[in-house]
């Protein structure tokens, strides 16, 4: 059995036009789970650089109430 490389390609490295911006919260929602937590790099398949930018953007969006800190709390 030969080893098959199943490693995902980073979405933002593949498409250089797509930028990570905290104001575009609809795009950021794809990287949150049902609780509103940030999905880990192991699952999203992003590279270190872009995952770091994503985390920063999500935290900024939470700060300005575009994204919730948690979906479980009664708003």
């Amino acid at each position: 059995m030969a080893f098959i490389n199943k490693r995902k390609v980073c979405k933002f490295c593949a498409d250089k036009k797509a930028k990570i911006d905290y104001k575009e919260y609809h795009d950021l929602k794809k990287f949150l789970n049902s609780q509103g937590k940030i999905i880990p790099r192991r699952v999203t398949g992003l590279c270190t650089k872009h995952q770091r930018q994503l985390v920063k953007a999500v935290k900024r969006a939470r700060n300005i109430a575009l994204l919730p800190y948690s979906y479980n709390l009664e708003n």
């Binding site: 575009e24 939470r62 109430a65």
Partner: protein
């Protein structure tokens, strides 16, 4: 001088003239401290992800500006005192980011489609205008050949034509506005 971007949320009860007053106050604060305002964008009323001071909604306003770094801490303190502003965030940005956003305010995936639509629509409008002008020219030539007594009537007709043309232009303006709103959505 550094480039900054401020996004702040205004109290939902403040609308139209009262909202513009608040925006003008913020602008004045920046300009009085040797800053330049580059771009102001009203992102509209949105539902907040969580309650702030028991408010569920708020109007988001984005301002790009240029100022000295020392001013920012003072500016933040001043914003915190303002009761109409619920939250704010100030971020330093690159020049390239602002230029891109001014050109295409929609997400990059949708931009190509909307741009194509706009181009085709504007071309059609231009064609229509050309046709109208040609028709008018033909009419004028025919009328010139007619007798001198009719000249007064011709002038009246020309006036009517001009009014019609204005109406057509207004219609086009309305269409353009609709296109712009579509792009924003």
């Amino acid at each position: 001088m550094k480039l900054y971007e401020i996004l702040f949320v205004v109290h939902p009860n403040y609308e139209e003239s009262r909202l513009t007053k608040i925006i003008d106050n913020v602008k004045e604060k920046i300009t009085n401290n040797n800053g330049n305002i580059i771009n102001v964008d009203d992102m509209g009323k949105k539902k907040l992800a969580y309650k702030i001071d028991n408010h569920r909604y708020g109007t988001y306003i984005l301002i790009h500006f240029e100022s000295e770094p020392q001013f920012i801490s003072e500016f933040k303190k001043w914003l915190q005192i303002q009761t109409q502003i619920l939250t704010k965030i100030i971020v330093s940005v690159d020049k390239e980011d602002i230029e891109i956003k001014n050109k295409e305010k929609v997400r990059p995936a949708k931009v190509e489609e909307t741009k194509e639509n706009v181009d085709t629509d504007t071309e059609n409008n231009i064609d229509d205008e050309d046709e109208v002008k040609v028709e008018e020219a033909v009419e004028e030539e025919v009328e010139e050949k007619a007798e001198d007594e009719v000249e007064e009537k011709i002038e009246e007709e020309v006036k009517e034509d001009s009014t019609e043309q204005e109406d057509a232009e207004e219609d086009e303006d309305v269409e353009n506005k609709e296109e712009s709103t579509d792009e924003e959505n």
